[in-house]
C-alpha cells in the first residue's frame, strides 16, 4: 500500500484495472488471454504442487509436526465439512473442496501485497499492466464455478436422470396438474411445461452465476478500495500518507478475513450443490 501518490482520480483507478493480455484477434473480444492471471495461477498452482510433493516425501504416521500438522488440520476441516453435508461417499468431493478452498484462499492472499507492487515489478520488465490477484479476474471464478456446475449436471444425469429431467420439465407447476383426471387441467399442465423449463433453467444457472460473481465481486471491490485508499490518502502529504498507511493496513487485515471467508463460502457451496445432486430423489 505504501506507494507513491497518484494524483489522478477515478481515471487513474481504471488505468490500474487493465490486464496484461494477449489478443489473438482484435475484432473478437473473446479471443484474448490474460497473461497475468494465467501466469499467477500457474505459479501458485505449481507452488502448491511442489509443496504437496515436498510434504508427501516427509509424511510420518506418528505425531505430525509443522507443515504436516497444519495440512492435516486443513484436510480434517474439509473432510468434516464434506461429511456433514454429504449423504453418500464420493471420493472426488473432499479433494475438490480442498482444492477449491486452498487455491482460492492462496490467490486471495495475494491481495496483501501492496496494490501497485506487481504493476511496478511488471513495469521493470517493460509491461504496462499486471493484475496480481487472479480472483479479481472474472474468468477465474467463472471457470471454477462452471467446472463445479458441470460436475453437478454430470452427477444429476448420472445418478437420477429420469428424476432430473422430470424436475426440469414438470416443476413447479405441472406435476400436480398432470396427475389430475380432468383433461382440461391435464392440457393446462402440458402447456405449462415450457414455463417450467424456463424457470428451472434460470434456477440452475443462478448457481454458477452467484457462485462466481460472489467471489469476483468481493475480491474486485476489495482491490478497488485499496486503490481508492491509495489515491485519496497517499497523495495528501504527510498526514494523508500516515492516515493512508494505517487505513490501508486496517483494510488489508479485514480483506484477508474476507478472502478466507470467500474461499470457505465457495468451498461450502460447491459441496452443497454437489450434495443436492447426490440426494436420492423424493417420491
Amino acid at each position: 500500500m505504501a506507494e507513491e501518490g497518484h494524483s489522478s482520480g477515478a481515471g487513474g483507478i481504471a488505468d490500474h484495472l487493465h490486464y496484461w493480455s494477449y489478443k489473438f484477434d482484435d475484432s473478437n473480444p473473446f479471443m484474448q488471454i490474460h497473461l497475468d492471471t494465467m501466469l499467477t495461477t500457474i505459479l501458485v498452482a505449481t507452488g502448491l504442487v511442489i509443496f504437496a510433493k515436498w510434504l508427501g516425501g516427509r509424511l510420518t504416521d506418528g505425531a505430525p509436526t509443522g507443515a504436516q500438522n497444519f495440512m492435516e488440520s486443513v484436510v480434517g476441516f474439509v473432510d468434516d465439512t464434506v461429511k456433514d453435508n454429504f449423504p453418500v461417499h464420493n471420493p472426488i468431493i473432499a479433494p475438490l473442496a480442498l482444492t477449491v478452498f486452498i487455491f482460492i484462499f492462496l490467490l486471495n492472499c495475494l491481495d496483501i501485497l501492496p496494490a501497485f507492487l506487481s504493476g511496478h515489478i511488471a513495469g521493470l520488465f517493460g509491461l504496462e499492466h499486471y493484475r496480481q490477484v487472479p480472483t479479481n479476474d472474472l474468468n477465474l471464478p467463472v471457470a471454477m464455478a462452471v467446472s463445479v456446475f458441470a460436475m453437478v449436471l454430470y452427477y444429476e444425469f448420472k445418478l437420477k436422470p429420469v428424476h432430473f429431467c422430470k424436475e426440469l420439465l414438470l416443476q413447479p407447476f405441472a406435476s400436480l396438474l398432470l396427475e389430475a383426471k380432468n383433461p382440461v387441467v391435464k392440457l393446462l399442465g402440458i402447456l405449462l411445461i415450457p414455463l417450467n423449463l424456463t424457470l428451472k433453467i434460470v434456477e440452475e444457472l443462478a448457481k454458477p452465476l452467484s457462485l462466481s460473481f460472489r467471489l469476483f465481486g468481493n475480491m474486485f471491490a476489495g482491490e478497488v478500495i485499496f486503490l481508492l485508499i491509495a489515491f485519496l490518502l497517499l497523495g495528501g502529504g504527510v498526514v494523508g500518507m500516515t492516515a493512508g498507511f494505517f487505513v490501508g493496513i486496517g483494510w488489508s487485515i479485514f480483506h484477508m478475513f474476507i478472502g478466507l471467508l470467500q474461499a470457505f463460502i465457495f468451498m461450502i457451496l460447491t459441496v452443497v450443490y454437489l450434495s443436492i445432486a447426490h440426494q436420492p430423489p423424493e417420491h
Partner: protein, 160 residues
C-alpha cells in the same frame, strides 16, 4: 472484465490442480490420517480389552482369595474340632484312669480290711485258746467260764 480465453485456461489450470492435489496432497494425507485413526482406535480397543482382562483377573483373584479364606477357615474349624475332641478324649481317659485307680484302691483297702479282720480273728481265736488254757489251768467251771470266754471274744472283736 470480460469472459475470454482465460476462462478456458483457468478451467484447465483448476482441473489439473485438482487432479494433482488429489493425488499428491489429499490422497496421502487422508490415507495417513485414516491409518492413524485406525491405529488409535486399535490402541483404544486394546486398552479396553486389557482393562477388561485386568478386571476379570481381579475378579478371579478375589474369588480365589475368598475360596482360600473359606478353605483356611474350614481347616481351622476342623482343627479346632479335632482339638476339642482330643481334649475330651484325654479328659475322659484321665477320668477313667482315676476312677479305676480309686476302685483299685478301694478294693485293696477292702482286701486289707478283710485281711486284718482275718488276722484279728486268728488272734482272737488264739487269745481265746490262751484264755481257755488259763481258765482250764485254774478251774474249768462251765457257767463262769462260758461268760468269760464270751467276754474275751467280745473284747477281742471289740478291739479289732
Amino acid at each position: 472484465m470480460s469472459i475470454d480465453l482465460t476462462f478456458i485456461g483457468q478451467i484447465v489450470v483448476f482441473l489439473a490442480l485438482l487432479a494433482l492435489l488429489k493425488k499428491l496432497l489429499y490422497g496421502p494425507l487422508n490415507e495417513l490420517m485414516e491409518k492413524r485413526s485406525a491405529k488409535i482406535a486399535e490402541g483404544l480397543a486394546a486398552a479396553d480389552a486389557g482393562k477388561e482382562a485386568k478386571a476379570k483377573a481381579d475378579a478371579e483373584i478375589a474369588e480365589q482369595l475368598k475360596q482360600a479364606r473359606s478353605s483356611a477357615q474350614d481347616i481351622l474349624n476342623a482343627a479346632e474340632k479335632r482339638a476339642a475332641e482330643i481334649q475330651e478324649e484325654i479328659t475322659n481317659k484321665a477320668r477313667n484312669e482315676a476312677r479305676q485307680l480309686l476302685e483299685a484302691a478301694h478294693e485293696e483297702m477292702e482286701a486289707e480290711v478283710n485281711r486284718a479282720r482275718q488276722a484279728l480273728r486268728q488272734e482272737v481265736a488264739s487269745l481265746a485258746i490262751a484264755a481257755a488254757e488259763r481258765v482250764i489251768d485254774a478251774e474249768l467251771d462251765g457257767k463262769r467260764h462260758t461268760k468269760l470266754i464270751n467276754d474275751v471274744v467280745a473284747q477281742g472283736f471289740g478291739n479289732a
